[in-house]
Point group: C2
Chain length 374, copies 2
């Protein structure tokens, strides 16, 4: 009896050390989710004994798909084979979206909780983590008198620490609306794509600066769009007065316009065009990845290039616009390209399949970083 | 009519650019969560029109507390004033734990999804982000032939990049069971605590190395404890054969034992004692933060120090154990201290209030980093 009690206490303490310290999901069930197989099928599992309906919601599927419950309350679904890529997903539990508690790879965002899964292909993709020299992803802070301490993620290529006399071109890469400074590395694998392209000699070694796009706390989170005029003004000021000086003080970057590029996705794409085209003294390389801009914003956001198309053409080494044909922004971006044609502003396009997704973001990054600084 | 249609389309496109690209929570409601007030009360909000019961679960409270639904299906609760600290929390929606979709500050973990909130005090705390020189938090990869590419987070103090001739002491800091290499910075604010302590002259400038503790994929995620013997062996090998050489190759670190420290929380605390005490040639500073070790593991894990207590005492500059009095591990740690007494192994303790929490982790880190390398 006494031994039994001791065993029980021992077991309890063992469980305490092993289980999450905070509120973990109930039940001691051990299972894997997501469970990716070599044939590119993937099984998702979620414990919810009392739920009536659990669906998998993911851009791997056209629509959310129902999961099946076993006798222990474990819901599961196997899908695929799935095209190799990195996909966001979540469970919809009786209508509520839930990130996968068994997956620590989460999607940095200010309005939803999603998990992320990689479906590897037979051969390495451009975003596959390979045993090549890796750059460094640094989390830094810079200071803005008005906005306070601002986060920024900076990629320095392999060899940066060793080559103390080398200056590098610098690429500013902006996230989408509601994303954060971590989304380009965590979901877009920007660092790995650069590692691979630089390692394979396809892209020039460059420094990539990924700032946080919201002018928080002046522009509150989740309340206004990244593209709102006030945020655009505030962020542009922060960019020029604080971020750029911080980068030039702390990193060995080129300070000529031909050594600077800017790109962004969605809301951040609108921002990258606004800042890039609006400051021809600063940038010679400007890209928009499914850039977010409404028709009635074209004139306002493009005042500088529209005022002097010839100067714009002569100063830009690259003006690049990419978008997927199923992207809801495809049509408005076509309208924008027509206006550029009317103004005789030169640009390059990359039209691909797919929608307004981070799968396409990786394609856009892969395409553009091979063009930059050449 | 035509204008109306145009306006509608314009509105739809505007919404598309503004809303999350992936599965955001339903409804266009704009609200803030968590909403922290100056009086240290905090309001949490969550949209779930069809849920029957939504609770807030957090270590700020003794037990989960029910939230109240308004006519639009928005659940909310205001609690506090709360003691200034950084707390994990989640919503329990009809029994399912959900991280706050409106909060991009998440808790890196392999078995649950939690959000994190800071309740500021009237004066800055040791973990408060201040406008002082900040170190750099770097996400790096190193390679292990057996385990593949391994992630590690490295903190270098402010001035590291400039002082190219300076060598720094190095502090290995291990996460708890089910945590990841990001938990010490994201939840424990290790980088900010060091920024502040170093800035205030209270801690020596040091490099902090935060590896990923699970020997994945050999030791699968969520299936076995970090403390399991196989993981301990595998991780120790990885530590000595791959991590330590990587750090010494890529960072200007001291390579003498008095220039090396190791600490860890919970399961990682057990590991830090095992590696630290087991390798007196490598470490002169060894700390356990509520270290996870069962009574029947004492002899196995402490074979080296128990075999030669005198040598252990003579070589250690610090052997430090901290634990909260409400920590479920308090009793087993007391047992461990008794055994250390019997063996005449010298140590220092720090007994505080509170439980097995990351609030206490910050205290432990604050206490120990002021002792290291002095």
């Amino acid at each position: 009896m006494k031994t039994h009690l001791k065993t029980t206490i021992l077991f309890l303490v063992a469980a305490l050390i092993s289980i999450p310290e905070i509120c973990g999901q109930p039940g001691g069930q051990t299972f894997i989710s997501p469970d990716v197989q070599k044939d590119r099928t993937v099984t998702f599992r979620f414990t919810a004994p009392n739920a009536k309906d659990v669906k998998l919601s993911t851009q791997m599927l056209k629509a959310p798909q129902s999961m099946t419950k076993d006798e222990k309350g474990l819901w599961s679904i196997t899908i695929g084979p799935v095209d190799p890529d990195i996909y966001p997903y979540c469970f919809v539990v009786d209508g509520i979206q839930v990130a996968d508690p068994k997956n620590s790879w989460t999607f940095p965002n200010e309005t939803f909780q999603n998990s992320v899964v990689e479906i590897p292909g037979d051969n390495p993709m451009v975003y596959t983590i390979r045993n090549v020299p890796h750059g460094t992803v640094s989390y830094r802070y810079y200071y803005n008198d008005e906005l306070g301490t601002r986060p920024v993620v900076v990629y320095t290529p392999a060899g940066y620490e060793q080559n103390q006399n080398q200056k590098y071109p610098v690429f500013f890469l902006l996230h989408g609306t509601t994303d954060t400074e971590e989304t380009w590395t965590k979901v877009g694998r920007a660092n790995i794509i650069l590692d691979n392209l630089i390692g394979d000699g396809k892209a020039k070694p460059m420094i990539v600066v990924m700032p946080y796009g919201r002018a928080f706390p002046k522009i509150p989170k989740g309340q206004t769009s990244l593209r709102d005029w006030n945020n655009l003004q505030e962020f542009s000021r922060d960019f020029k007065n604080n971020l750029l000086p911080f980068v030039e003080k702390n990193y060995r970057v080129r300070t000529d316009r031909e050594g600077r590029a800017i790109a962004g996705f969605s809301g951040g794409g609108g921002t990258s065009l606004y800042i890039g085209l609006g400051n021809p003294d600063l940038f010679a390389w400007v890209c928009g990845y499914a850039p977010g801009m409404l028709k009635n914003e074209f004139d306002r956001n493009n005042a500088v290039p529209f005022a002097n198309p010839e100067l714009t053409n002569s100063r830009l080494k690259l003006f690049w616009i990419g978008v997927g044909k199923e992207d809801p922004l495809y049509s408005v971006i076509q309208d924008y390209l027509k206006v550029l044609d009317e103004k005789k502003i030169k640009y390059q396009t990359y039209l691909t399949t797919g929608g307004h997704t981070w799968m396409n973001c990786k394609k856009f990054l892969n395409e553009t970083t091979q063009l930059l600084f050449k």
